[in-house]
Each structure stands twice: as structure tokens, then as C-alpha cells.
């Protein structure tokens, strides 16, 4: 289970295609796609192997009109889902 001090990196094995302002990310097993729009793209772009999830959360709260508690819950649920799907990896492997 990921926590706010976790640092994530985009899985390099996942092809990504920009479409409009969204992204289609193809899971590494090659049969499933995931689409991201708006805040999902924002989070994805902040997952760079440098930012902790706390830093990503701070960026979300600064950018969007959302309460920190709600943003934290949603962020952790979102990144845990991405991690489970293999789209992101923990920076330490």
C-alpha cells in the first residue's frame, strides 16, 4: 500500500499516447488501456521519480479547488490503482 512518503516513477514499459488533453496509457501486458483526463494527467505528470506523493498532493491542493483531506484520499486511491495495474512503479523498484 502506497503512502504519502512514497516516490513513484512512470513504468517505462507502458506506451503512452497523448490524445487531446488526455493520455492513453497502455498496460505493460499489452492488452489493456487506461485513459487519464484532467487531474489524472496532472498526477501522472508529477510522477517523475523525484516527487513524493506528499509533494504531488501539495501540488494538487495548490492547483485545484479541493480540500486537502479529500485530495489525499482520492490521490492514494488513484495511485494505488495505477500501481496495481503496473502503470507506475515505486522509485526504489
Amino acid at each position: 500500500m502506497l503512502e504519502l512518503q512514497s516516490i513513484l516513477v512512470q513504468n517505462p514499459a507502458c506506451p503512452v499516447r497523448e490524445i487531446g488533453e488526455g493520455l492513453v496509457i497502455m498496460a505493460p501486458e499489452g492488452t489493456v488501456t487506461h485513459s487519464l483526463e484532467s487531474i489524472g494527467v496532472f498526477i501522472w505528470n508529477h510522477i517523475d521519480g523525484q516527487n513524493s506523493l506528499q509533494m504531488v498532493l501539495d501540488a494538487i491542493v495548490a492547483e485545484y479547488d479541493v480540500a486537502a483531506d479529500t485530495a489525499r484520499e482520492d490521490l492514494l486511491e488513484f495511485v494505488n490503482q495505477m500501481h496495481k495495474s503496473g502503470l507506475v512503479l515505486t522509485a526504489d523498484g
Binding site: 506506451p15 499516447r17 490524445i19 487531446g20 488533453e21 488526455g22 493520455l23 492513453v24 497502455m26 499489452g30 492488452t31 489493456v32 488501456t33 487506461h34 485513459s35 487519464l36 483526463e37 484532467s38
Partner: protein, 299 residues
């Protein structure tokens, strides 16, 4: 081969023609009754010997004809541990498909159909074509083509059944091909549960991602979500003698993105009644009546 007498069945998918030389000969009649398709007297793009293989075992049926497939450097292929074998000679544009005989019976024909998706892609590649097969239902209304997509159970067949006032192209598999400044949607011989389909084609006007709901609603969706949903329903462009590669899924997403450059995609929530056509008529300014089907685009 056990005997030599064969009977031909033509399979016409868009502009591509595949001749299936069937053994036993009765197989050709089975397929002619199964496939609802356009006629064609064009020369074949691919010539295939289709020979049923007798067997005593009860084969295990796969969910996908791609997941458990082996190919050889000689153009040979083996699907699901011998369920369907064959080979492709690209130079000669010919080959063979040898399915176990059980696949030619009843509902199992829908599994056999899937090898013809791969045959289509082989023929498409040989001809340098740019069409794709999309798991979908499609209807022509007031001269415009509308494509309905979604996973199994989303309601593609239901939409077809609710659209008999219009020209239903089918509820299982349609062909999309670039034409002019857009795409054309065209019927294929491949079947779902809806048998009252009619061959035809029309300019593709819109695509709908289906969702069964408590009301008829049409809502816009983001382009990435649209591309992802559409790509999931594009038949992987894998030929008879090929396997999926790491480039296969990106190619499907890329094709979806191309379609989206010309065609809007909406989410269509619907009830099991034809009322959604009123919403579509308003949104797309369609002139549709209450009478018998709008059959203006038969070939």
C-alpha cells in the same frame, strides 16, 4: 487431406475477397448459411483451403484465438493446442486453415469466425489496405452511419434489436475504413445474435460507448477515454501467421486516435426501448420516420 472434392465459399469483407475451398463440401453450405454478406465477383485477395479435421477429443475452447497461438517461420500456425492449425503462403496469397470439426457446429461457428478475422488481416496486409474490424453494432439512419461499442453485455445486440426501423448493419463486427475526409462504416459477414442485418455502408457520423442505464442520456466524453474505449474494441491487426507484438496495442490506439480526428464519440446511456433514437435524431438532425426500415444504403 482425406479426399479431394472441395466446394468454394466466398468471404467478402469490405473490398477484400477470400475464397474458402471447403472440405468436406457440405461445409461451404454451412458457411453460406451462416455468413450474411455482400456478393462479389472480384478476384480473390486470399485463397484458403478450409478443411475440417475429425477428432474424438472434446477440445478445450479458448477465450481468445490470440492468447494461445504458436507460429512458425514457415508461415504455419497453431491455435489453442491444435484446435485450429494451418499455414499462410504470403507470396502466393494462399494458405490453409484446418479447424477441428466441432467448430463447424452451431454456436461454435462464432469461435471459428475469429480465425477469419486473422485471415482478413492477412489479406488486408497483402493488399496494403487500411481498414480495421471493430467489435460493435452499427446502424444507418438517414444516410448516416452510427457505431455502437462496448464490452460484451453492454447492449450492442439490444441496440440492433431496437433499431429495426433503420438499416441495421450488424451487432457483432463492422469494418471501418478511411474514405475522403472521414471514415466509412461497413457491414461484415460476421455475426452476433442479431440475424436480421443487411449488408451496406455509410459515412461514419458518430460512435457511441454504450451503457445500460435508467434513462436515455447522451453525454460527451473526453478524447482519451473515447480513444481507450474504442481501441479496446478494435480487433488486433494480427494475421494468420503472426502473433501480437508490443506494437500491436499502440497500433490499435493509434487507429482509434485517427478515427477520433473525424468522428465524435459520445457515451450513450440507454433503456431497453427505442427511445434513444429520439435523442439521436435531435442531436444529429436526423429525419427518421416510424415506418419500415431506412434501407437507403444497400449495395
Amino acid at each position: 487431406m482425406a479426399g479431394t472434392e472441395k466446394q468454394q465459399c466466398r468471404l467478402v469483407v469490405g473490398d477484400l475477397v477470400m475464397d474458402l475451398n471447403c472440405y468436406p463440401p457440405a461445409l461451404a453450405d454451412v458457411l453460406a448459411n451462416w455468413f450474411i454478406q455482400e456478393a462479389s465477383d472480384r478476384p480473390a485477395d486470399l485463397d484458403l483451403d478450409l478443411e475440417l479435421v475429425a477428432h474424438e477429443d472434446i477440445p478445450e475452447l479458448p477465450n481468445s484465438l490470440l492468447a494461445n497461438k504458436l507460429v512458425g517461420s514457415d508461415g504455419s500456425f497453431d491455435v489453442a493446442g491444435g484446435l485450429i492449425t494451418g499455414c499462410l503462403d504470403r507470396t502466393g496469397a494462399r494458405g490453409s486453415i484446418r479447424p477441428k470439426a466441432t467448430l463447424a457446429r452451431g454456436r461454435l461457428l462464432r469461435i471459428l469466425e475469429q480465425i477469419f478475422y486473422q485471415a482478413f488481416h492477412s489479406a488486408n496486409t497483402l493488399r496494403g489496405g487500411d481498414a480495421c474490424l471493430v467489435h460493435s453494432s452499427a446502424v444507418i439512419a438517414d444516410g448516416a452511419g452510427f457505431l455502437f461499442v462496448g464490452p460484451s453485455g453492454a447492449g450492442k445486440s439490444t441496440v440492433a434489436q431496437l433499431s429495426t426501423n433503420h438499416h441495421v448493419l450488424g451487432d457483432e463486427m463492422q469494418l471501418l475504413a478511411p474514405e475522403g475526409e472521414g471514415f466509412t462504416v461497413r457491414s461484415t459477414p460476421f455475426n452476433g445474435t442479431f440475424r436480421n442485418k443487411l449488408p451496406g455502408q455509410a459515412p461514419l457520423r458518430a460512435i457511441f460507448i454504450l451503457e445500460q442505464a435508467d434513462a436515455h442520456r447522451l453525454t460527451a466524453i473526453g478524447p482519451a477515454e473515447a480513444a481507450s474505449a474504442l481501441a479496446a474494441e478494435i480487433v488486433p491487426p494480427v494475421g494468420l501467421d503472426e502473433l501480437p507484438t508490443p506494437d500491436t496495442l499502440p497500433a490499435m490506439v493509434e487507429y482509434a486516435a485517427r478515427i477520433l480526428e473525424y468522428t465524435p464519440v459520445w457515451r450513450l446511456e440507454f433503456l431497453p426501448d427505442p427511445g434513444f433514437w429520439e435523442i439521436l435524431a435531435t442531436e444529429f438532425n436526423l429525419e427518421i420516420g416510424d415506418g419500415p426500415g431506412d434501407r437507403s444504403d444497400q449495395p
